[in-house]
Symmetry: C2
DNA sequence: TTCCATGCTGTTAATTTAATCAGCGTCCGG
DNA sequence: CCGGACGCTGATTAAATTAACAGCATGGAA
């Protein structure tokens, strides 16, 4: 897809937004109104340019005959799916843009209440819970965890995935692998629960 | 959503199909042509009925102003996603309608070349491969398997999931759990490879 | 400078489309 | 037999929409 001018990008964004909000493409007049043109022809010209550059397809003699090209559709998908977090840059919030490797559309109904992001698991410390190195953990952002849940925790700026266990005031982060020792943060240490796991996805390397 | 008459269902199906094929809703005239009406009014009346029953919403004074209601959209998703296979009725092909518990939309890009269905894993025989009881195996339909791949195999009408291993002419289906013995089908036994695993999904029960 | 792409205004004709009115036939339950 | 829901034809009208033409202005490349 050829590079778009600023104005063309705005038109394309509006088409996407309209499609999303109303379930059908806009008319020339609606585009003109949204972008502040006083002439519908301005929209027409932009649409021709977008078609020429391969961003959209125009259906002749059909009202609202605008469709996103395969490439433009792909882009919409990558803008709306669950973000995949690979490495977490030190000190950055998990969902910072720099940590997002890709976005994937996943059916919400599979993962209970709600899912917020995917986190690539590093290491074998949860091996015996069936969570292997490279698996994608489906995570819901919440500071509340129940005993036995797999949680994403941040201790002194280090993010880890462990099984949560609380006895009274004492919190422990357990591994599921005899080679790894449990973590017992010193009282007063900066332990933050960033989220709880609601699913696991493994692809390839079976 | 109230129950639809046959004809109303056909109209709704056509709207879905048109949306899918062209990316925009149909006009009254297009509906009439597709269903064989000679009057566009027949479509109009059907649309009113569909709106009254909550299947669609009509946007007044807008060409192609038809949108699927939340419920109807949900149904589209369940009609197009990957089928989840729970139990396989004896003797039936895996993808038989009776075996489908639900359908889920999953991002194709996650699971390599192509995925065909989800199969709920029963038992712990692949525990040490990180595949637990109740996990959903993402399966691609193919009769070809490579050494070490997790395969869906049918032996004498029984469907199992195992690790595939071939040495010359000898084929063995291995477990990943010392409590289970490998399966060595007698030469000439009806062993059919139904597909290979391309992913695993676990939701809940972490 | 000239040419061309971009980005717009303003207008108009032709066509598409929604929306409505008047009818006709069938089937079903009261 | 009546009333009502369903399913359709056919025609008409008003409004929405596309698509085209004539211009004007700007800025960059030849």
């Amino acid at each position: 897809m050829e590079i778009l001018t600023d104005r063309q990008q705005q038109v394309l964004d509006f088409i996407r937004h309209h499609l999303d909000a109303h379930g059908l493409p806009p008319t020339r007049a609606e585009i003109a109104r949204a972008l502040g043109f006083s002439s519908g022809n301005a929209a027409e010209v932009h649409l021709r340019a977008l078609e020429r550059k391969g961003a959209i397809e125009l259906i002749a003699h059909a009202s609202r005959g605008i469709r996103l090209s395969a490439m433009a559709q792909e882009f919409t998908a990558t803008a709306t799916g669950l973000p995949l977090i690979g490495r977490i840059a030190a000190g950055s919030p998990i969902l910072a843009e720099q940590n997002i490797e890709a976005r994937y559309q996943l059916d919400e109904r599979l993962f209970g209440p709600h899912a917020d992001y995917l986190l690539r698991v590093q290491g074998q410390s949860l091996r015996d819970a069936g969570i292997l190195d490279g698996d994608l953990l489906v995570v819901r952002c919440t500071p509340e965890a129940c005993n036995g849940q797999i949680v994403v925790a941040r201790i002194d700026d280090e993010v880890t995935v462990k099984r949560f266990e609380r006895t009274g005031e004492r919190v422990r982060l357990l591994s599921a692998n005899p080679d790894f020792a449990p973590i017992e943060p010193a009282t007063g240490a900066a332990l933050v629960i960033e989220g709880v796991a609601v699913g696991v996805i493994r692809c390839g390397r079976l």
